[in-house]
Amino acid sequence: MITKRIIPCLDVRDGRVVKGVNFEGLRDVASPVDLAKYYSDEGADELVFYDITASAEGRALFTDILTEAAKNVFIPLTVGGGINSVADFDRVLKCGADKVSVNSGAIKDPDLVGKAARLYGDQCVVLSADIKRVEGKFMIFAKGGRENTGLEAIEWIKRCVGNGAGEVVVNSMDTDGVKQGFDLELLGKVCDAVSVPVIASGGAGCTEDFIKLFKTLPKVDAGLAASVFHFGEIKIPELKAAMAENGIPARLLKK
């Protein structure tokens, strides 16, 4: 039985982990390498490193940190942020990333997903979609959630999966940072539309939110969150134990 994955996300700027609430008001949390090691020891099933740096210096610092983390952490690492070309895929894969997530880059260059999938395999290409309700429709946003692209979310996700995206991270901007639970309505629609793994993101506030996610939508493969893990509001070993108690397959570490 495949287990449901729990994935902490580390937003990194200038070499430090930050987390925004609704993408604004960033707060410094910790060293990415230390935090990655900590999460791996706690039983995280995978880690996402999201590079929110804009400058070239910051980008170089990010790849240094990624390399250091990959030398010390032996669980899958996904890298996102600033991935606009095949050269960007190459840059982070060489530093130890296993998967690369594309967001705005796929919107700017609709061929990027396909090109990367042919070079590195579908399993390497993760589509990350920032989605918000606009007049009752789910729309794709770009540039860290600042720009409505006019793309309808489900159609966009289907198109990218058709081009070779091997997994989809669904980030609901409506529930992100609110800590009232995942966006089950949106996630249900995505699960019905695609047959690749779906990772839920945005809205986790407590352990019960993860239980409700996996119970309500058995097709969701993983739950992703940031601040609730960084601030210790949800402890991964306790979350895994609660999942197991509720009959949700979870990877439990034996001490």
């Binding site: 039985m1 495949i2 287990t3 994955r5 791996s40 099933d45 990959a70 030398k71 010390n72 032996f74 669980i75 899958p76 894969l93 060489k94 530093c95 130890g96 296993d98 590195y120 395999g121 579908d122 399993q123 091997g166 997994e167 047959s195 690749v196 793994p197 493969d221 993983a222 990877r251 570490l253 034996k254």
Partner: protein, 203 residues
């Protein structure tokens, strides 16, 4: 010394890092002399079977691997590297493997429930079928990380562990000094590192 065979397929960063983490000297190399001198061999691989199998042959690695294995040197194939140990693969056509272990690599699609996602990506408990030195430092039911769309079939004699994904899929195989795992030990946390340790120390 461990030689991680570099034949231009996949990313060897994590494998090199994991051997460093367990204090074992390992080189990623395509140099036949170093491969011949090594105590043990790792055959990695990610991507398409046909491409990898051609690269093994064209680089002359296929021949060297067979020679070294027949001299008794331990070999561990990982992911596509495990699939290459078999006689053939039905991945987009029919392609010849190294033929070190009897069996056929087949697509999951059509052979497992359509309800399940392909590729199979994630952590599954290992179901240990036979005692083997590779498992000397782990327990039955420990989880390991898989990423694959094809699986080894018709290889019952060599199966030492399976993982349940609709049905029991081949997770690890062994025959004499040759072994392989479909999952990624270098991405399977402490359990994976313990499998690599066991390969280094006990095979």
């Amino acid at each position: 010394m461990i030689a991680i065979i570099d034949y231009g397929v996949g990313n060897l960063f994590s494998l090199k890092s994991s051997f460093a983490a367990i204090g074992e000297e390992a080189f990623a190399t395509g140099d036949p002399d170093i491969i011949r001198k090594a105590d043990k061999l790792i055959l990695p691989g990610v991507g398409a079977f046909e491409d990898a199998s051609l690269k093994l042959k064209e680089s002359g690695m296929a021949g060297i691997i067979k020679e070294e294995v027949s001299s008794g040197k331990p070999l561990l194939g990982i992911c596509l590297g495990m699939q290459l140990l078999f006689e053939k693969s039905l991945e987009y056509g029919e392609h010849e493997g190294l033929g070190l272990i009897k069996g056929v690599v087949k697509p999951m699609e059509g052979l497992i429930s359509p309800e399940l996602k392909v590729p199979h990506i994630g952590w599954n408990p290992l179901i240990i079928k036979k005692e083997h030195p590779l498992f000397s430092r782990i327990n039955n039911g420990d989880c390991v990380y898989f990423v694959h769309s094809f699986f080894a079939d018709e290889c019952e004699e060599a199966v030492i562990a399976t993982a349940e994904y609709d049905k029991e899929l081949t997770a690890a195989v062994a025959k004499d000094n040759v072994c392989g795992c479909q999952f990624h030990p270098e991405k399977s946390g402490d359990v994976g590192l313990n499998i690599l340790r066991a390969f280094c120390k006990e095979m």
